[in-house]
């Protein structure tokens, strides 16, 4: 007998099921035609693309307080991804606005600066793009282009200050060791405003959840920019440049941009135009981990809705749950506070006394007052889907 996976992979079948999805309502979390793939050192993940590797964490693996390294999502733009040797790896710090250029080995990085650990969500800018209505091109992520981990490293600002930041510095530019097949393809290079680079939470990280970074998550060293979307968390970091001018590479000027003024969050003034501006901070959001869409809850038996809520670093003030089609809302119980950049667990019992369909909706509120919206703010690249999600279940 053919397995489900083989049926899915049978050419036209894939196309037909994908096409059927176009009619799906927004906010639906289930995507039954997803296929799994396994990268070396990882558990089976949802395979969005094999080359460059783009693998999503299945919903069930997002249940733990910290997302295991072997299920953490993988996202690359370019396909030449070297396996770096930690012993010979070097980090160069230079640029037009550096006082004294530096080259650091991993041992020097670890011994020369204070070690810091921060619990933080790393969320891809395009997380949930596949749930956008109308649909937009790009990697069709559902909910799992994100995870929560403890990132250990040294403060970027300590390294920048050791090299010396000259007056007139505007941006800090980051490059990694991965590159494209074709020399004409722009390398993946990103920049941060100087003030964000100097923020005490921005780390040059070499550990994830107490282990060396996995290859597919940026070994041996990556940037961690808690509160900002994953695009800034440069993997396989090799070059840092302090510059007096706005960096004008493709991945800043043309990609990862939003309509100017359409969303809240930190501004990136040196990269802003009247039309578009870079995506920056993660917006307040939540995820229902259980029950899954279409689940059958047994009448009269204990059931609860569980999930996560997070934002760009203000921290979560409250999570509210509705089980009556969003007419009334009740506050869920929040789990441990793992830090303002981490996600927060929530749970609330669901009344299963009566049989029938239930729509469970969840909305989070940040300590800065921001709340998840009901309506999607459309943008052509499919970023910032933080609308209130709902799952439909059946009590029987």
């Amino acid at each position: 007998m053919l397995t489900r996976r083989e049926l899915l992979l049978a050419g036209a079948g894939t196309w037909l099921s994908r096409r059927a999805r176009a009619a799906d309502a927004p906010g639906v979390t289930a995507a039954p035609q997803d296929s799994l793939g396994t990268l070396p050192g990882k558990q089976p993940l949802i395979q969005r693309a094999f080359r460059p590797p783009n693998f999503e964490t299945p919903l069930a693996d997002l249940a733990a307080p910290f997302t295991s390294n072997d299920v953490f999502f993988v996202r690359y733009h370019l396909t030449v991804i070297p396996w770096l040797d930690a012993a010979s790896w070097r980090l160069k710090v230079g640029g037009a606005s550096v006082r004294q250029p530096l080259t650091l080995s991993l041992a020097e990085l670890k011994s020369g600066f204070e070690r810091v650990t921060i619990a933080a969500v790393n969320q891809c800018s395009g997380n949930r793009r596949g749930l956008f209505a109308p649909r937009v091109p790009g990697v069709q992520w559902a909910n799992g282009a994100m995870g929560n981990a403890r990132w250990t490293g040294v403060r970027l600002r300590d390294v920048l200050n050791k090299a010396g930041v000259a007056a007139g510095a505007l941006e800090v530019v980051f490059a990694g060791a991965d590159s494209a097949v074709l020399p004409q393809t722009p390398n993946f290079v990103k920049s941060l405003p100087l003030e964000r680079a100097l923020d005490e939470s921005t780390l040059i990280a070499f550990e994830m959840n107490g282990q060396p970074l996995p290859h597919w998550n940026g070994a041996p060293v990556r940037l961690a920019v808690p509160g900002w979307t994953g695009t800034y968390w440069m993997k396989h970091l090799t070059d840092i440049r302090i510059e007096p001018k706005a960096f004008d590479g493709f991945w800043m000027k043309s990609a990862y941009r939003l309509p100017t003024g359409a969303f809240p969050g930190a501004r990136f003034a040196s990269q802003e135009t009247p039309e578009t501006t870079p995506i920056t901070e993660i917006l307040v959001n939540s995820l229902i981990v259980g029950p899954v869409a279409g689940a059958r809850l047994k009448r009269g038996e204990h059931a609860e809705v569980t999930g996560k809520a997070w934002d760009g670093g203000a921290g979560i003030a409250a999570v509210e749950v509705s089980v009556d089609g969003r007419r009334s809302w009740r506050e869920a119980k929040l789990g441990h506070d793992l830090g303002r950049f981490a996600w927060r667990d929530f749970r609330m019992p669901v009344d299963t006394a009566r049989a029938g369909p239930l729509e469970i909706a969840v909305r989070a509120r940040s300590r800065n007052g921001a709340q998840q919206p009901d309506k999607l703010t459309f943008n052509p690249s499919g970023y910032h889907d933080n609308i209130v999600q709902a799952v439909s279940v059946e009590v029987a």
Binding site: G11, A22, P134, G138, V139, L182, P183, Q184, P186
Partner: protein, 107 residues
């Protein structure tokens, strides 16, 4: 068990193709089975150019978001921004293939 099922599936496809259209169809069907993309005019060229830089899942997975104008924009981006070696004539053939087989969005 899985392997047997896959072999049976493949044999069935080949027998079907032989019965219908002869040897050339067998090759085309086998190629499309390997790439997972639709066997239609432009398949080989599209595969040959796109896989220089990326695997092919992007094509069916993006189909619901695509129409002819969106595919045109994507091909243009691959050529002009990423330097994909595609001539004008090839771009037209690739566009026709993608639009005919992977446009899932109203124009």
């Amino acid at each position: 068990m899985k392997r047997i099922a896959r072999m049976l599936g493949r044999c069935g496809m080949i027998v079907f193709a032989l019965g219908c259209a002869g040897a050339q169809a067998v090759e085309a069907a086998a190629a499309a089975e390997i790439t997972g993309l639709k066997d239609a005019p432009g398949h080989d060229l599209t595969v040959g150019r796109c896989i220089i830089c990326h695997s092919l899942e992007y094509i069916p997975s993006n189909a619901p978001a695509m129409n002819r104008a969106a595919w045109q924009k994507t091909i243009q981006k691959m050529r002009e921004r990423f330097g994909a070696p595609i001539t004008d004539d090839e771009a037209k053939q690739i566009l026709d293939y993608l639009d005919a087989n992977y446009s899932g969005k109203a124009s």
